[in-house]
């Protein structure tokens, strides 16, 4: 009796497990689809690309999304009145043409005809009004963005003419009219923009499986004739670089970012393209705290840190040295030569430190985020470098959420290291350092001349003069050292050899519009 029961219960447990496994695997089919019989060959025939992305988008609703990783993907679905180009300038998108009044306050846009949304509806002026009313909180909902605080009114003149009036002139205003800040979305989709995003871009939404993938398909009615080439785009979320490289080697993805030290593993059999991503990797200080409120201390640290070592060790050489918060990716706006100013000079660093009143150095702490190993690696090199000039630095590693809360918004830190992601507009690349920009100026940099230059440039409509202002701003950052500027590290894209048409931008964007398999 005893024995039988015993066997019975044993079998019972086994059956329970099997039932658990089977019943649940039946319930699933569509969503966890990391799958299929895809290999390089079959996907090339199907014109379907599989792109690996590090993380999920924060929102699919372009007005709610803020993380650059989201726009990397969703910019394929949305367009604004203007479209950013690879060199950081703008071209007309949903707007066919525009005029600015002489006082710089009134912008009149002619809306392009013949644009359709992914759901087949024609884009109308009502959708443009709806988009901006939604962003500005004019239609009853809450304001979704601060970018349009300077807008006094919006209006339509006729079925294809849209007018925006500003409170004050702003030469950078057009940059807030790209899909990054004001993607045009259809009024008819109100309330469903996140679940079922609809835009006018070259690719339409198909499915989103959290933690797994975002699927897009070709927008048949796209207004640019003949584009896009691909039938399907599948963004696959994969946080581990190690696994991503293996995926590429196994032909399970066609395109992925790869860490510099892995390049040798894929070179030859795969295309590796470098892209200056217009970010600036910095080691920065809390400008309100002693001794970092002394410019000489900041300069001393700048001389002490071996930027080339960081580039070689952390990025295996795939990074471009910078001397202020701007990268060569910004073209004309970039001021060359600043990256040479603080070449490593330990003696000079010691002198400056002594002049500042710290001949024997001091002790401090560098707080870095754990979400990417590059930060703690950089910190380790900085610690060794600073030891040579007598500064004793302790490394504190915190999680990304805590870093954002404590360092970025709380400003409760002494030193930290981070990369500031690139944006298409030179103004937005530099405006972090404006003393009144509370939200972003976590360095607590406060320099009158810098503030003046940055407010003057907004009133300047001549591009050459704007460039002069922006270059002066870079000089100030280089002299005043609100941060040690290390490099714009390159994003290395490993792709299967049969892919062409990849484009790089001065911000994060996987533009799939002209990509095809050969």
């Amino acid at each position: 009796m005893l024995k039988r029961k015993c066997w019975l219960s044993f079998v019972l447990v086994c059956v329970l497990f099997l039932i658990g496994a089977c019943s649940n695997s039946e319930g699933d089919n569509s969503s966890t689809a990391m799958s299929g019989d895809t290999n390089g060959q079959s996907s090339s025939q199907a014109q379907e690309i599989r792109v690996r992305i590090n993380d999920d988008p924060d929102f699919l609703d372009p007005h709610h999304a803020t993380a650059s990783i989201s726009f990397q993907m969703i910019l394929n679905m949305f367009e604004g009145l203007f479209i950013p180009k690879q060199d950081g300038s703008l071209t007309e998108g949903v707007a066919e043409s525009y005029e600015v009044s002489d006082d710089g306050l009134t912008y009149t846009f002619k809306i392009r005809e013949g644009i359709t949304f992914h759901n087949g509806e024609d884009l109308t002026i009502d959708d443009i009004m709806y988009t901006f009313e939604r962003l500005m909180g004019l239609a009853g909902g809450e304001k979704l963005s601060n970018n349009f605080d300077n807008v006094d009114s919006i209006d339509t003149l006729d079925d294809t003419t849209f007018v925006m009036t500003l409170k004050e002139p702003n030469s950078n205003f057009l940059y807030s009219l790209t899909a990054l800040q004001s993607a045009i979305i259809p009024k008819s989709n109100d309330g469903k923009h996140n679940e079922n995003p609809i835009g006018t871009g070259p690719f339409a939404f198909v499915n989103y499986s959290p933690g797994s993938s975002l699927e897009l398909k070709k927008h048949e009615g796209y207004w640019q004739e003949g584009l896009p080439y691909l039938e399907k785009v599948n963004f696959i979320f994969q946080s581990d670089d190690q696994a991503a490289v293996m995926n590429l080697l196994a032909n399970e993805v066609n395109l992925t970012g790869i860490p510099g030290h892995r390049v040798s593993e894929v070179e030859g059999n795969y295309n590796v393209s470098h892209q200056n991503n217009n970010s600036s990797l910095i080691i920065t200080f809390n400008g309100d705290k002693e001794p970092f409120n002394d410019v000489k201390v900041r300069q001393a640290i700048n001389y002490a840190i071996n930027k080339q070592d960081i580039i070689d060790s952390v990025f295996s050489g795939y990074a471009t040295p910078i001397g202020s918060n701007m990268s060569p990716a910004m073209g004309d706006y970039y001021l060359d030569g600043l990256q040479e100013v603080y070449n490593r000079d330990v003696e000079k660093a010691k002198e400056l430190l002594a002049e500042a009143g710290y001949p024997n150095g001091f002790s401090t702490k560098i707080t870095v985020s754990s979400h990417n190993d590059i930060y703690s690696s950089i910190a380790q090199i900085a610690v060794e470098n600073l030891k040579e000039i007598g500064i004793d630095v302790e490394i504190e590693v915190v999680e990304w959420g805590i870093w954002l809360e404590r360092v970025y918004s709380g400003r409760d830190y002494e030193m930290t290291t981070i990369d500031l992601t690139g944006r298409p507009s030179a103004y937005e690349v530099l405006n972090n350092y404006i003393s009144e920009n509370d939200a972003e100026n976590f360095f607590l940099f406060d320099n009158e001349e810098f503030d003046q230059v940055m407010s003057d440039v907004l009133l300047e409509s001549n591009r050459d003069k704007q460039i002069e202002y922006y270059q002066r701003a870079q000089e100030i950052l280089n002299e005043q050292v609100p941060a040690v500027y290390i490099a714009d590290y390159q994003i290395l894209w490993g792709s299967t050899n049969n892919i062409t048409g990849l484009k790089s931008y001065p911000f994060w964007f996987h533009d799939m519009k002209e990509v095809k398999f050969e």
């Binding site: 005893l2 447990v13 649940n24 695997s25 803020t66 959290p210 293996m246 990304w400 805590i402 939200a439």
Partner: protein, 313 residues
């Protein structure tokens, strides 16, 4: 009867405590889910909008009771990070984790049981000693390293295996196995050592009992003694231990899913902790712990059905 009643009450107390611990831990956790999600590019308007939208500005006790109420109705709330119901996310990931765990359990059973019997029969002979040392080694290796080594030396060299991702059973059984076997093996190896030892000890304990001596003295062949009599009785404690390792196998999946990039519950848990996606973490942790508690409860009950003496303890 009292035994079962008491067990059931204890089950509920444990689950209630688990829910309090889970909820409490995430309240003292530093780090803001909203900022983590929106990153450095967020502006304050967006942060505040989202916070009130998600009800994160309500008092704690209110959030707790809403959550508990939801638990009973099967509504685990919405994930902050993914703006979808937690239960939907769980259901999507569950098959992956359950599949890996079941295969791992099967491997443990298929390996530990025969090995344990073998070692018990050859007690203290060289093969017994070697076996127990080798299995100990399996226990001592950090599982993620083991997983990586498998990927490097097996996954990348043997065509059958796919080194990451998951193919649902419904699509292809062979495909599912190609993604699940290596992770399951990685989880199973450290467990084999413990369970092998346990099987061996249980059998040895039986051998010393009088009935075995009696049977033996009747001159039955050794094989029959072992398989027919000893093994059946040794099954009781073995059953218990296999109930208990479910918790360990579930824990094993958490790390191993990372290594093999399997979109299961463990992977979801890790990302939701670093995202500070409290509703999601709470949902997953509750799900896992309640499952563990219930399996243990079930094993307890089965055990007492099999061996009524237990109830008196």
């Amino acid at each position: 009867m009292f035994f079962y009643l008491r067990r059931i009450i204890l089950l509920f107390i444990t689950v209630a405590l688990v829910s309090v611990i889970t909820f409490a831990v995430f309240q003292v956790l530093p780090g803001d889910p909203i900022r983590t999600m929106l990153g450095t590019e967020a502006d304050e308007t967006q942060i505040e909008n989202l916070r009130s939208e998600l009800g994160l500005d309500r008092p704690l006790y209110e959030q707790y009771f809403t959550w508990i109420k939801g638990l009973f109705t099967g509504d685990l709330g919405n994930s902050i990070r993914f703006s979808m119901p937690v239960s939907t996310l769980l259901m999507e990931r569950l098959p992956v984790t359950l599949s890996v765990a079941s295969i791992a359990l099967l491997i443990v059973l298929l390996v530990a049981l025969p090995l344990g019997i073998f070692a018990a029969r050859r007690k203290n002979k060289a093969s017994d000693v070697v076996l127990s040392s080798v299995t100990q080694l399996g226990m001592a290796v950090p599982s993620f390293w083991l997983g990586m080594i498998f990927i490097l030396y097996i996954g990348m060299n043997v065509d059958f295996f796919r080194i990451n991702g998951y193919i649902p059973w419904t699509e292809s059984i062979q495909g599912a196995l190609s993604t699940l076997l290596l992770p399951a093996l990685t989880i199973a190896i450290p467990q084999v050592a413990v369970k092998f030892r346990y099987v061996r000890t249980s059998i040895l304990e039986q051998v010393q009992l009088d009935y075995v001596r009696t049977i033996r003295s009747k001159g039955l062949p050794e094989k029959i003694v072992v398989y027919k009599h000893i093994l059946k009785n040794a099954m009781i404690p073995i059953l218990t231990i296999f109930g208990l390792i479910t918790a360990e196998i579930v824990a094993g999946t958490i790390i191993v899913e990372q290594v093999f990039a399997l979109p299961g519950i463990g992977q979801l848990l890790i990302t939701s902790i670093s995202n500070r996606d409290f509703p999601l973490v709470q949902g997953i942790v509750m799900y896992i712990t309640v499952a563990v508690v219930c399996i243990n409860f079930l094993v307890d009950i089965l055990y007492s059905v099999v061996d009524p003496r237990i109830r008196l303890r």
